[in-house]
Symmetry: D2
Subunit: 342 residues, 4 copies
C-alpha cells in the first residue's frame, strides 16, 4: 500500500534483464555506443519523428532544466503552471541551468493552464529592455494534479506560444501515462500539437533513472550536448541508461506499464468515490488527490498505507496518492478496506 510516488517502486525484471544483456564486452563511451544508438532510433520511431535528436539523462530535473536552458535565454521568461514541478519541486534548477531565467506562473484549474491566462501572461511580457523577454512555454502532461492534456488542448496552448515566438517544452515525466490515458499517439501529443522539445520520462514508469530529451527541431542540439556535459549529465557508460530505456520501449511494454498504473488509480478513485471521499480533480492518469474526514489518515497509516499529506480544510485531511506499474489490485483494495469511512 505504497502510494507516495511512482518512484518508490522497484523496477520490472525486464529492466534488470536488459542491463545484464548490455553488460558484455567493451563499448565506446559517452553515449556513442550501439545500445544508445538503438534506443535513440526506437524513440524516434515511437514518436514518428525520424529527424528528432534524442539524448538520455538520469533525472527528470536534468531533462527539464537542460531543455529549458536550451530554449530560454538568461533574460527570458519560462511560462509554467502555478504548480508545475519546475516551479515547485526542483529547487530552482531551471534558474540554475539557464543562468537566471525567470519563471512566470500561469493559472488554470486542475493543473492545466487556461489558454486565456497564458495569452495574458505572454502579452504582458517582453518588448522593452526593462522586463524579461519571452523565453519558453513549459507544459506538463500528466499534470501535477493528475489530469491530462489532450492533443487539442496542447495545440491550443502551443499555438498561443508560437504566435508570440515562444517555443514549447513538454515535461513528460509521466508521458507514458498521458499517452495511455488519452489513447492519442505520442506524435499527436507532442510535435503534431506544437511541442518543440519533450522530456520523455522513464523513471516514473519503472526505470532506475532514465529520461530522454527529444528535440523535434534540430538547431540547438550541439548546444544541448555541451550543456549536458558541463552539468555532469553525460554518463560515460551510456549503455546502462540506454539498456533500461530500451527495455521499457520494447513492443507495447511502456504503455502496458503506464496503463496498469492508470487502471489502478481508476480502481482506487472509484472505490474512494463509492465511500464518499472527495476527489479534488478528475482522475485521468495515475495520481489522485483525496480529501477525507480528519483522523482517517492515521488509521490508514496504521494499516500500512503510505502517502503524502496535502493541506486540507478544517475538519478534513487530504492526501496525494500515486500508483505505479507495480501497484496491485490487492494494494488498492487493502487501502480501501483500511479507510473505514462509514
Amino acid at each position: 500500500m505504497f502510494f507516495t510516488s511512482d518512484n518508490a517502486a522497484p523496477v520490472p525484471p525486464e529492466v534488470l534483464a536488459a542491463l545484464s544483456e548490455a553488460n558484455t564486452g567493451y563499448t565506446p563511451g559517452y553515449g556513442t555506443d550501439a545500445v544508445t544508438a538503438a534506443v535513440q532510433d526506437r524513440i524516434r520511431a515511437v514518436l514518428e519523428a525520424p529527424e528528432a535528436v534524442v539524448h538520455l539523462v538520469a533525472t527528470g530535473t536534468a531533462a527539464n532544466a537542460l531543455a529549458l536552458a536550451t530554449l530560454c535565454p538568461p533574460w527570458g521568461a519560462v511560462f509554467c503552471h502555478t504548480h508545475a514541478h519546475v516551479q515547485e519541486d526542483e529547487c530552482g534548477a531551471p534558474e540554475f541551468f539557464s543562468a537566471g531565467a525567470k519563471l512566470l506562473q500561469v493559472e488554470g484549474a486542475h493543473g492545466k493552464m487556461a489558454p486565456e491566462a497564458l495569452a495574458r501572461r505572454i502579452a504582458m511580457t517582453g518588448g522593452s529592455v526593462h522586463g524579461v523577454q519571452r523565453g519558453a512555454l513549459t507544459l506538463t502532461n500528466v499534470t501535477e494534479a493528475g489530469t491530462v492534456y489532450t492533443p487539442d488542448e496542447t495545440a491550443a496552448l502551443a499555438r498561443i506560444a508560437h504566435e508570440a515566438g515562444v517555443p514549447v517544452h513538454l515535461d513528460g515525466a509521466r508521458f507514458a501515462n498521458a499517452v495511455a490515458a488519452t489513447g492519442a499517439s505520442p506524435a499527436d501529443l507532442t510535435w503534431r500539437s506544437g511541442v518543440d522539445v519533450l522530456s520523455f520520462g522513464g523513471t516514473k514508469n519503472g526505470l532506475m533513472g532514465v529520461e530522454a530529451v527529444v528535440f523535434f527541431a534540430l538547431d540547438r542540439a550541439w548546444e544541448f550536448e555541451l550543456r549536458r556535459k558541463r552539468s555532469g549529465h553525460l554518463l560515460s557508460k551510456g549503455r546502462y541508461l540506454a539498456a533500461q530505456m530500451g527495455a521499457m520501449l520494447e513492443g507495447n511494454r511502456w504503455l502496458d506499464w503506464a496503463g496498469h498504473a492508470n487502471a489502478m488509480a481508476t480502481r482506487l478513485a472509484e472505490g474512494l468515490k463509492a465511500r464518499g471521499v472527495t476527489l479534488w480533480h478528475p482522475v485521468q492518469a495515475n495520481i489522485l488527490f483525496a480529501q477525507w474526514p480528519a483522523g482517517t489518515s492515521a488509521r490508514l497509516r496504521a494499516a500500512g498505507a503510505r502517502f503524502y499529506d496535502a493541506p486540507a480544510p478544517e475538519g478534513y485531511e487530504a492526501a496525494r496518492l500515486v500508483t505505479s506499474w507495480s501497484t496491485t489490485p490487492e494494494d488498492v483494495d487493502g487501502f480501501l478496506a483500511a479507510l473505514q469511512i462509514s
Copy 2:
C-alpha cells in the same frame, strides 16, 4: 585489447547481482532509503571517518563540480594542476556549478603539483578586491598522468593550502587505484593528509555510474544537498546507486578490482619497456603513456587494439593506455605481441 578507458569495460557481475537484490519492495525516495544509509556507513568505515557526510551522484564531473562549488565562492580561484580533469575535460563544469569561479593552473612534473609552484600561485592570489580570491585546492589521485600522490605528498600540498585558508578537494575518480598503488590507508590518503572533501570514484572501478562525495568537515552539507538537487543530481531511486557502490565496497573487493587493473598496467609497462618503448611517466596505477615509432599505432589497431593517441614528436607516435578490472593478461600479451617492434 580495449585500452581507451576504464569506462569502456562492462561491470562485474557482482554489480548486477546487487541491483537485483536491492530491487525488492518499496523504498522512500531521494536517497533516504536503507540501502543508501548502509553504503554511507560503509564509506565512513572504509575512510575511518565516522562523522563524514556522504552523498552519491552518478558522474565524476558532478561529484567534482558540486564539491568545488561548495568549497569555492563565485569570486574564488580553484587551484588545479595544468592538466587536471576539471580544467581540461569537463567543459567548464566547475565554472558552471560555482557561478563563475576561475581555475588557476599549477605546474608540476608527471601530473603532480610542485609544492613551490602551488605556494607561488596562492601567494599571487587574493588580497585586493581586484583579483579573484583564494577558493579551493583540488588534487587528483591517481593523476591524469597515471602517477600517484603518497600521503606525505598530499599532506605537503594540503598544508600549503590550509596555511592560506584554502580548503582541499581530492578528485578520486581513480581513488581505489591510488589506494591499491600506495598501500596507504584510505584515511591516510585523505583526511589524515588534509583532504577536506573527496570525490570517491566508483565508475572507473567497475560501476555503471556512481561516485560518492565525502565531506570530512560537516558544515556545508546542507548546502551541498541543495546544490545537488538543483543541478538534477539527486536521483529519486537512490537505492540503485547505493546498491552498486555497496557491491564494490563489500569486503576487499574494491581494492581487488583496482589492484588487478594496476597489475595489468604494470605488466603492460614492463612488456613495453622490454621492447624499447618510451614511457612518459612512472607507471604507478592503471594509466600509462607510451611513445613508439611512427607506424606502430596503425599496426596495433589492425590487430584489434583500441586506445587514444597523444601528441608525439616527429617520427614517433604516442598513446594513452588504460587498464581496468576486466583487462586480462591475454589482452596485455596480445597487445605486446601486436607491437612488433624489433
Copy 3:
C-alpha cells in the same frame, strides 16, 4: 509638464557645484578617497547607524541586485511584491546577480504587501530539498503604486521575515520621498523597523546616478565588495559619485527636494480629484495613477504633457504621473488646465 519619471529631470545646480569642488588634485581610486569617506560618514549619521557599512554604486538596479545577491543564496527565494521593481523592471537582475534565485510574489493592495500574504508565502517555502529555500524579503518604499510604508507597517513585515530567519532588504530608490512623506526618521523607517540592508536612492531625488547600499549588519560586507567589483560596479573615480551624494545630503537638502516632489504630487492629485479624475491609490509621495475618460491623454500630450500610459478599463485611459525636485507649480497647473474635463 514632464511627468514620465523622476529620472527625466535635470540635476540641481548644487550637484554640479559639488562635482566641481571635488575636482581638485589627485585621489586614491576605487572608493578609497576622502570624499567617499565623508559621504559614508554622513549617511551613517543620517541613519543614526554608526556601524553601518556604506557603498556607492551608479544605479538602483545594481544596488538592489547586489544587496539581494548578498542576502539570498542561489537556491533561495526573494519574497517581493507582485509589482516590485525587482520583479518587473530589472530584466532579471536579481536572478543574474544571485546566480538564479527565484522571486516569489506576495500580494497586497496599493503596492504594499499584506502581512498575512507574506506569512503564507514564507510558510509555503523551504524545508525540504525539493523547493527553493527562504532567502530574503525585499520591500519598496515608496512603493511602485506611490504609497508609503510607515515604520509600524515595515516592522510588521520585517518581524514575520525575521521570525522565519529571513533578512530584510528595502528598495529605497525613493527613500527620501518616503521619509519626507511619513515624517519618520530614516532610522525608524529602516533598521529600527527591522531593515537589514537599504538601497538608499539618490538618482530619483536629483543626482546623475548614485545610490548607496547600506548594510546595517556587517558580516557580509567584504562579499559585497567582491560582488560589486566583479559586476563592474566599482567605479575607479569614486569621488564623483560621492560628491553628488554629499551635495544631496548637505543639511536638509535631500528632504527638501523630496518634499517638494511630494508636494507637487499632492497639488496634482488634488487638482485631478477636483476635476473628477479617479486616482487608483492614495497619493502619499511623488507618484500617482490617474484614470480619465478616453481621449483625454491625447489632448494632454498635444498640450505638451509627457507621461506613461497604464492599462485602463474600456472607455477610459490611465496614466502614471511622477513629480520631481524640478516640477513646478506651473507644470502642475498647466497640466490640470490642459485636462479640460468638464
Copy 4:
C-alpha cells in the same frame, strides 16, 4: 607626482562644462536622449563605422565583461594574454557576466600575444564535448605592459582568430593612447584589422567614468542591451554619461589629452634611462615599469611621489608609473630629481 594610475587624476574642465551644458530641461531616459544619440554618431564618425552599434557604460570592467559575454557562450573559452586586465584585475567579471566561461592565457613578451602562441592555444581548444569551446579573443591596446599593437600586429592575431571562427574583442581602456602612440587611424586599429567589438575607454583619458562599447558587427546588439540592463549598467540619466564622452571627442581633444599623457611618459622614460634606471618594456604610451636599486622607492615617496610597487629581483625595487592628461613636466622633473641615483 601622482603616478599610481590615470584614474587618480581630476577631470579636465571641459568635462564639467559639458555636464553643465547638458543639464537643461527634461529628457527621455535610459539612453534614448539626444545627447546620447549625438555621441553615438560622433563615435561612429571617429571610427569611420557608420553602421556600428554604440552603447555607453560607466566602467571598463562592465564594458569588457558585457562585450565578452555577448561574444562567448558559457561553455566557451576567452583567449587572453597572461597578464590581461580581464584575467588579473576584474575579480572574475568575465566569468560572472558570461555565466562561467573559461579564460585561457596566451603568452607573449611585453604584454603582447605571440601569434604562434595564440594559434597553438586555439588549436588545442574545442572539438569534442569534453573541453570548453572556442569563444572569443580579447586583445588589450595599450597593453598592461604599456606597449601598443600596431594595426598589422592586431590584424595578424585577428586573422588567426577569425580563421578558427573566433570573434575579436579589443579592450581599449587606453585606446586613445594607442591611437596617439601609433598614429594609426581608429579604424585601422580596430575593424580594419579585424576587431569585432571595441571597449572604447573614456575614464582613463580624463572622464569621470564613461566607456563606450562598439559593435562593428550588428547582430547581437539587442542581446547586449538586455545584458546591460540586467547587470545594472543601463543608467537612467544617460545624458550625463554622453555629455562627458562628447566633451572628450570634440575636435581632436581626446588625442590631445592622450598624446600629452604619452609625451609625459616618454619624458619620464628618457629621464630614467639617462639615470641608469632599467625599463622593463618599450615605453610606447603612458605606462612604464622601472627597476631601480633598493631604497630608491622610499626616497621617492618621501619626496611626495606616488606609484605602485612591482615585484623585483633581489637588491632592486620596481614600480609601475602611469601618466595622464594632467601630468605636468614639473611632476616628471620633480620625480626625476627625487630619484637621486648617482
